[in-house]
Symmetry: C2
Subunit: 496 residues, 2 copies
C-alpha cells in the first residue's frame, strides 16, 4: 500500500480524518454557480412557510411565491384538453370510457402509436418521438408563415433549460485568452450565468436599455464584444425574447439588427423564445428569430447559425412540472448536430409525458374538433387575464413614489426599479448583502411576499430592482402590488 | 469595428465563410464522449426499421432492440395500480369516477396535496416533493432492516443518470496530474465513461473477474489505484450492483471489502443500485451499500462518504419514459450538500410525474389495500418471468459452441463472451471496426437482432462480448437466443 495511505491511517487514528469531498476540494466551477431564482431568499421563504405551519406568529398569514414563473402553483387551472389526453395516454384503459371526448381519445391513440411498446413508459429515441418532432416542425411552419422547418432539426428536451445547456456545452472550448465567451443580456435569466460558470466559459455582459423599456441596442452589443475580445474568444450571443426578467418584446427591426451583428461578428445565436405566446401590449408582436432570419435572405438565411428554444412551462398552459421543451437548430454544422444527438443520448431521453404534452401544445384542437370551443375559451381566459395583470402591475408600481416600472409587454414578470435610501444601502453593506437583497429579505419577513432581487439577474451599478411574477390571481395581485408599494414607502421612511 | 471583422467580411465576399461551430472548434470534451448503448449500431437499427417500413426486402421481418433495458418497449405491460394513480393525478376530474379503486384515489389525493397548486403542472422544490422524499426515506429504512434514512439526504432526480452526473460533477477538480480520477468497473455502463469524458476527469479502470462470474476483486482495485496515482488524483469509486452489463450480484463480504478499501484509500463511493429489485439467482441477495456500511460500525459508518442511486426505469415496473429516480447521500459534507442542491436548482426540478411514480414504487399498496392483490400478482408475474428469462439465456448461450455466458444473477442483461475467428478479427480491423462491433453489425444486418458490442462497455484486451437484454417475452427470447447462437456458428464457419 502507498505510504500516503499509512499517513492517512495515522490521521484516522488521531481522529483527524476530513471528508474526501469538501467545499474546498469540490469542483470550483460548481462552487461559483449562482442561481438567484431559487437562492437564499427562496430558502428563507420555505423556512417561513414551515414556521407558519408550526403556528409561529408572523405579520402575514401566507408566503406568496412571486419569485418564479409557476402559473399552476399560483392557482391557474390546467387546460382540460391537455390533461384529458395525457390521462388517456397514462392509463389507456380509459380509452373505452364515455367521459372523454372523441378527439382527446384520437389524440391519445395517435401519441401512443408513436411510443415504444405503445406506452409512455418506454424510452423514446434521444431526440424525442419522431411524430412529435414532426408536429413541432409543422407548428414552427405555421407560426412563421409557411417558412419550412425540418423535423430533423428539432430536438425535444427536458424543459427549455436542458436544451440551452446542451447547446452551450457544444460551444465551450479553449483555455485562458481563447476561452469561449458568450454574450448575455443584463438583466438575464440566471440559467445563463450559472451554466457559463459551470462550463468555465466567459460571461460577456451586454446591458439592455432601461430608459427604452429594456430594448436591446446593437451599439451596446458592439461595446461589449470589443471589450471582451482579448480576454476571451466570443463565439455566441444569447437573446431572450420576450424578455425575462424584463418583459420587453423585441421589434422586428431590432431582431434584424441583432442577426446582422451576429453574422458580421461570427457569433452563434441562441434565441430563448419560451415566452412566444406571452405577448400582451398593444403594438407588440412576437417575431421569431428563425422567421426574421429566413426573410432576410442571403447571406444571412443560409449561413447564420441559430438555436431557438421553446417550453411547455410558460405560454397559456404553464405546465412547468412536466419538463417539456424543444430546440430547433438552423444552419448548424451537420457533424456538430450529430455530436449534439450523441450528447443527448447519454441521458437516454426527455421525459415522455412532457413530450406528449408538447405535442398537444404544438397541435391544439382544430376548429372542427369537439374539444375546440372549451380549449379556446380556457386558453383565451388565461391570456386575457395575464394581459390585465401585466397592465395592472405597471400601473400600480408607477403610482408608487420611488418605484418605476417599464411596461410588461410580454413574458410573466415585472422588473421594477426601486429607489433605496443611502442609509439602507449602508445597512445592507454592513450585513454583507446586496442592497436589493436586503430590501427583498425585509419585504419577505414583513409581508410574506417573495420576490427576487435584481442583483440575481444583473443590473447597472447603483440601480436596484426586483423581479416579480404577474401570475397571482388578479385581485390577489392587486393587493400584493399595493402591499409591496406600501412596504417600500415605509422602508424608505425608516432609512431616511 | 475591429479589423478582424473586416477580414471576415472579405472572406464572406469570397464565399469562404465557415460555420462558427464545427467539429474542429466545438467542445473537445464533448467530442470525446462515447455512448455505445445508443451508438452507431442503434442508428443502423433505426435505418433498417425504416427500410422495412418502406418495403425493402430483408432476411428478417422486424428489428429486435435487445440493446437497451426498456421493458415496456419489449411488450411488458405497465403495472395497473401505478398507472391508475398517475392518471388520477394528471386529471383529477377522474377522482369522482367509480372506475378507480379507493386506495388509488387516496394515493392520488395525497400526492396532489403535496404538489404546488395541487397540480403535477407546478414546479416542485429542486430536491423533489418533500412528502415523496419522506416516502423514499421510509422505503430505504424498510429495505435496510430499520437503519434510519433522513429525507434531507434524499434528492429526487430525472432518472438515476441525472443524479449520477450531478454527484460526479461535484467531485471533479484539479488539472494535469491532480485531475480527479474516478474508478469504474470494466465492463461498465457507459454513462460513467461518457460523463467522465465530458467533465474532463480521468477514468480509472478496474476489471471485474469474468472467471468468477464477474465478481469484484479488491486486489484489482488496489492495482488500478496504484497505477492511477501519479497520473491523477483518484477520489471516487463507482460500483454497479447488481451489475450492468454483467448481471453479477455482489456478496455481502465483497461489499464490506469494497467499503474498507474506499475508506482506507479516501475514495467517495458511488453505488449504482438501480437493479436492486432485479435479483434472480438462488443464493444471490441484494445488500445495499448503505446497510452494509452502517452495520460495519465505526469508523466506517460515521465517516465513509456514499451516494446510492435508484430509478423507476428498472425493477418490476420498467417505467423508463417517466425519468424518475433518486440519490441518497450518506456522510456527505453539509456544505457540499448545499452546493449539490444549488446545482440541482439551476434545472428547476425533476419531472413531477416521474416523482409521483417514484412515490408509488417506494410505497406500493399495503396488504389491506383493495389494489394489493392485483398489484402483487402483476409484480410477481414480471419478476418470475425475468428470473426464467435470466436462466434461459445462460442455458442457451452455454450450449452454443464458442459462446460462454456467466449466470445472470440479477439486473436485465447477459454479457456473453464470444470467440471470433482470427480472420474475422482481421476483416474488422481492415474496416476500422472493433471485432465485436463487426460481429454485432453483421448480426443486425442478417437477423435484425440489435445488441451492443462489448467494446462499448470495456473488456479485457483480446476478449469479445456483447450485451443483450433478457427482456423480450420468454418464447420470443428463446427463438432470439437460438437465432443468435446459429448466427454465431455460421459466422465462425464463414471466417474459419
Amino acid at each position: 500500500m502507498a505510504s500516503s495511505t499509512g499517513d492517512q491511517s495515522q490521521a484516522v487514528r488521531n481522529g483527524l480524518r476530513t471528508k474526501v469531498l469538501t467545499l474546498h476540494s469540490m469542483n470550483p466551477r460548481v462552487r461559483r454557480v449562482e442561481y438567484a431564482v431559487r437562492g437564499p431568499i427562496v430558502q428563507r421563504a420555505l423556512e417561513l412557510e414551515q414556521e407558519l405551519r408550526q403556528g409561529v406568529k408572523k405579520p402575514f398569514t401566507e408566503v406568496i411565491r412571486a419569485n418564479i414563473g409557476d402559473a399552476q402553483a399560483m392557482g391557474q387551472r390546467p387546460i382540460t384538453f391537455l390533461r384529458q389526453v395525457l390521462a388517456l395516454c397514462v392509463n389507456p384503459d380509459l380509452l373505452t370510457s364515455p367521459s372523454f371526448p372523441d378527439d382527446a381519445k384520437k389524440r391519445a391513440e395517435r401519441i401512443l402509436q408513436a411510443c415504444g411498446g405503445h406506452s409512455l413508459g418506454a424510452y423514446s429515441v434521444s431526440s424525442g418521438i419522431q411524430l412529435i418532432r414532426e408536429d413541432v416542425a409543422k407548428y414552427i411552419e405555421r407560426r412563421d408563415g409557411g417558412i419550412p422547418a425540418d423535423p430533423n432539426n428539432v430536438f425535444l428536451s427536458t424543459g427549455a433549460s436542458d436544451a440551452i445547456v446542451t447547446v452551450l456545452k457544444l460551444l465551450v472550448a479553449g483555455e485562458g485568452h481563447t476561452r469561449t465567451g458568450v454574450l448575455i443580456p443584463i438583466p438575464q435569466y440566471p440559467l445563463y450565468s450559472a451554466t457559463l460558470a459551470e462550463l468555465g466559459a466567459v460571461q460577456v455582459d451586454y446591458y439592455l436599455d432601461e430608459e427604452r423599456a429594456w430594448a436591446l441596442d446593437v451599439s451596446e452589443l458592439h461595446r461589449a464584444l470589443c471589450q471582451a475580445r482579448g480576454h476571451c474568444h466570443p463565439r455566441a450571443l444569447c437573446v431572450i425574447n420576450p424578455g425575462n426578467p424584463t418583459g420587453q418584446v423585441q421589434t422586428r427591426e431590432c431582431i434584424e439588427a441583432v442577426i446582422r451583428f451576429a453574422f458580421e461578428e461570427r457569433l452563434f445565436l441562441l434565441a430563448d423564445e419560451v415566452y412566444q405566446d406571452n405577448v400582451y401590449a398593444a403594438g407588440s408582436q412576437f417575431h421569431s428569430f428563425k422567421k426574421v432570419l429566413m426573410e432576410m435572405g442571403p447571406p444571412y438565411a443560409g449561413q447564420q447559425e441559430l438555436a431557438s428554444f421553446h417550453s411547455t412551462s410558460k405560454g397559456y398552459m404553464g405546465e412547468c412540472g412536466f419538463r417539456g421543451g424543444y430546440v430547433e437548430v438552423v444552419n448548424m454544422d451537420a457533424e456538430v448536430q450529430q455530436q449534439m444527438l450523441k450528447l443527448m443520448s447519454v441521458r437516454l431521453c426527455p421525459p415522455v409525458p412532457g413530450q406528449a404534452l408538447l405535442d398537444l401544445v404544438v397541435s391544439p384542437p382544430a376548429p372542427t374538433d369537439p374539444s375546440f370551443a372549451q380549449f379556446q375559451a380556457e386558453r383565451q381566459a388565461v391570456l386575457v387575464e395575464l394581459a390585465a395583470k401585466a397592465k395592472l402591475t405597471e400601473q400600480v408600481f408607477n403610482e408608487a413614489p420611488g418605484i418605476s416600472c417599464n411596461p410588461v409587454q410580454g413574458a410573466m414578470y415585472s422588473f421594477p426599479r426601486v429607489q433605496l435610501p443611502p442609509r439602507a444601502v449602508e445597512c445592507a453593506q454592513e450585513l454583507g448583502l446586496a442592497p436589493d437583497m436586503f430590501f427583498c429579505l425585509r419585504l419577505l419577513e414583513e409581508t410574506g411576499i417573495c420576490v427576487v432581487p435584481g442583483s440575481g439577474f444583473g443590473q447597472r451599478e447603483g440601480t436596484y430592482h426586483f423581479r416579480m411574477t404577474i401570475l397571482p390571481p388578479l385581485e390577489k395581485l392587486r393587493l400584493l402590488l399595493e402591499k409591496l408599494s406600501r412596504f417600500h414607502a415605509k422602508f424608505t421612511l425608516e432609512y431616511s
